[in-house]
Amino acid sequence: MFLWLSKTSTAPSCRSVKSPPPHSVKMSSRPELQAPPEIFYDDVEARKYTSSSRIVGIQAELSERALELLALPDDDVPRLLLDIGCGSGLSGETISEHGHEWIGLDISKSMLDVALEREADGDLILGDMGQGLGIRPGVIDGAISISAVQWLCNADKSCHEPRLRLKAFFGSLYRCLGRGARAVFQLYPENNAQRELILSYAMRAGFAGGVVIDYPHSSKKRKEYLVLTCGPPSMSTTTPNAKGEDENICSDDDDDDDDGSEDEENQTVCISDRHRPRKKQRITKKGKTKSWVLQKKEKMRSKGNVVPPDSKYTARKRKARF
């Protein structure tokens, strides 16, 4: 008991299996809270995962975006990519569609069996990313990983130490990637501390890069990608722009302490504010103006909804005879 307490107190973001699972967790919301990956993805779950058209669609979309972020040179030369946590080869399918070769690594045998049944094009390896990748240095042209890295933050066995596992993973990944190669991880961090833990270990291994958040305003379409580049930071290693993001709105919660003085100034209410007329934004009798419609459309777009493009017909008044 004491051991467990000391472990969690040093690593706030790392969860031990012995801790009671949160009672409000829904069945499909967070698989990593339920069981270790090699046990959670058993035969039944692996088949369920691959036969769900919704998951297949999401996986294809995520891998498509990850490949886009990988920014491989556009010269039609097939590259050798690494798919970490390839599962049943859903993401590998997207890689094959783009004409690249891939090696898939996964810890769940059942998932790999499904991948074999689906006749995945890549070579499959049963392995644990937390034990290091064991691939010869410099042979891989890029790595992607869809919803897998957050599993590393769990201590599923008594010998597991998330920090060591993250270190082993990023260290071995850095070695096997060629110079200037990129690695893109799509991940669902549980909280800010976990995100920072993953990022800090990636930086320690020598990677440059950062987090790209697509659709930060939307709770459903919001997706996080960790984009890492081998080598020192330079112009080419700057992280690409996210989708559905108009400006840098994502404020770090940790900066609150530094901005304390500024916040206090903002919170003081000026006297002039009190006498402000209350209903300032009343909609005029004429109805909703073009600027209002455009603003609304922009807002929906930032949430990732499908919005028709703006044209000269947008918010145009109809003729009276209509």
Binding site: V77, I103, L112, D123, Q131, G134, R136
Partner: protein, 116 residues
């Protein structure tokens, strides 16, 4: 086959291959990919590995880059690298003698708790 050649360094390279069953898969021939891979391959390991798996056409010594222009060489390279597949067998670490079993073409690289 590809993975066994490229993969390797757990405690040293190359992993020795124990063959029980080899299958040949048809893979599309792509010279660009082969040229890209050529510089990354440890040639001796590939030649030895393909010999163990029953394909002795590759030259022993490291060929220089000029051979990449010959179509015949590329075909051999392609066959050895991509089409030979170890279906059942094992990969053995040359230093420690640790066996990594290969089932249905998937090498099991999981380590035990005391080996981490």
């Amino acid at each position: 086959m590809l993975s066994s050649n490229i993969k390797g360094v757990i405690n040293g390279f190359p992993l020795r291959i124990e063959v029980e069953k080899v299958v040949e898969k048809q893979v599309d021939f792509n010279p660009d990919f082969l040229k890209n891979m050529f510089s990354k391959i440890d040639w001796k390991a590939l030649a030895d590995a393909s010999k163990i798996m029953g394909y002795a056409e590759l030259p022993e010594e490291v060929p220089d880059a000029s051979v990449l222009d010959s179509d015949e060489f590329l075909q051999k390279f392609h066959h050895a690298l991509l089409e030979l597949h170890l279906e059942e067998g094992a990969l053995v670490c040359p230093e420690t003698g640790r066996r990594f079993p290969v089932n249905k073409g998937i090498p099991n690289m999981l380590l035990h708790e005391d080996e981490v």
